[in-house]
């Protein structure tokens, strides 16, 4: 899933720590939403929503449809600004490689979104259906259910889901740390190489 380069949403900025938009960004997003609110109901129907998401991302029709079903939590056939806002945050988190951060910071709303039938539990099939939103690989998701399904009911309750987000965040930070150390090491090696060259030039 990618945001179209140069689209309006592409220019919005997600706070890296809290994974939310600033007030000013929200203000312009409201303006954008109202531009698309053709019928003056403060909502987007499924047609408008489809064309919006199709225009700004590379999602397929089927994916857009299931995203709409997920956001239309009242089953009224329309989505309001609240749902639109959370979708934009998900898109931007994905675009900026902040998926783990986003899941960690907003585990409750994400859990509620994925809990399609309201049973306070998420099944593997449902999660697999929406894993593209959070850039989770199929194998990774299967392992997740094996490792974090503590109750053994093949479903994740909120605590198990939260544990997963904490673990995922921890893994992400360690990965970042390892990358930073690797970069520092490369930089040091480069500097050593340059120093060695200078010494050789000096003597010869």
């Amino acid at each position: 899933m990618k945001l179209k380069t140069g689209s309006f949403l592409w220019y919005l900025y997600l706070d890296k720590v809290y994974c939310l938009l600033s007030v000013r960004n929200v203000k312009v997003l409201v303006e954008y939403f109202h531009l698309l609110d053709v019928h003056g109901k403060n909502t987007l129907n499924d047609v408008l929503f489809y064309h919006f998401l199709h225009h700004v991302t590379d999602l397929k029709k089927k994916q857009i449809k299931i995203v709409f079903d997920m956001l239309d939590w009242n089953a009224v056939g329309e989505i309001g600004f609240d749902q639109f806002y959370i979708l934009v945050c998900i898109l931007l988190a994905h675009q900026n490689h902040l998926e783990e951060q986003f899941l960690y910071r907003h585990s409750r709303p994400v859990f509620d979104l994925l809990d399609l039938d309201g049973e306070q539990r998420i099944g593997e099939a449902t999660f697999q259906m929406y894993r593209f939103l959070f850039n989770i690989h199929k194998q990774e998701l299967t392992e997740l259910f094996h490792e974090f399904d503590i109750t053994g009911d093949q479903l994740l309750n909120y605590k198990e889901f939260k544990l997963y987000t904490i673990f995922s965040m921890d893994k992400y930070q360690k990965r970042q740390q390892a990358e930073r150390e690797r970069e520092n090491l490369q930089l040091k090696n480069q500097n050593k190489g340059k120093d060695k060259e200078k010494i050789e030039l000096f003597f010869f």
């Binding site: 706070d15 890296k16 408008l48």
Partner: protein
């Protein structure tokens, strides 16, 4: 259990997409980073904090003015001719919105009162760039969506709505009231855009 917020993600996460250098990054950085924080004044925190009483209300503005000669009082900003000039410059932008549906209009009226409240802090930062060559641009950055982004937003919305109109026509027919409503809406946006361009 929350993570330590002081852990900042590496700068590489700032870059979108492939990470290639994009000429539009400059505009994006100006717009997006301007929204992150009001503290663009490069003033020491102690100097700002000493001007606020225990309730967080700003006091003794004249003292701040004396210490920083180029800055003006927050309250004086509203009466300053400079903001009026800015409002005049940006007025053509607002006019196209008057013909739109009531919801955005109401939102703008609500926003105006909010913007007045925001004005003091935003105008002080504008005053800081008083002698900058791109004064109007920075003022716009503080209070308005930058023009290029505004145009981009409208053009994108128009493209989306035109595609939606085709779907409406094929799905529910040209004569359906929703189709006609959408058609009128699109025509309204185009008309406002043309009016804006002609001014």
């Amino acid at each position: 259990m929350e993570e330590n917020p002081s852990k900042v993600l590496p700068e590489s996460s700032d870059h979108r997409g492939s990470g290639k250098v994009n000429p539009s990054n400059d505009i994006r950085d100006l717009w997006t980073t301007a929204t992150l924080s009001e503290s663009q004044l490069n003033l020491p925190l102690s100097e700002v904090c000493e001007n606020f009483d225990e309730e967080g209300i700003y006091v003794d503005k004249t003292q701040w003015y004396r210490h920083n000669g180029s800055w003006e009082d927050d309250e004086e900003d509203e009466g300053n001719s400079y903001p009026e000039e800015l409002d005049e410059q940006t007025l053509p932008e607002q006019e196209p919105h008057q013909g739109s549906s009531t919801e955005p209009h109401v939102a703008e009226n609500g926003d105006d009162s909010k913007m007045k409240a925001e004005k003091p802090s935003s105008m002080t930062s504008v005053e800081g760039f008083m002698h900058s060559p791109h004064l109007a641009y920075w003022a716009e950055q503080q209070n308005r969506l930058p023009l290029p982004l505004r145009e981009l937003m409208k053009n994108e919305a128009l493209e989306i709505l035109n595609k939606a109109l085709r779907s409406y026509r094929s799905g529910i027919g040209r004569e359906h009231f929703l189709t006609k409503e959408l058609q009128r809406y699109i025509d309204g946006i185009k008309k406002r855009q043309d009016t804006g361009q002609n001014v």
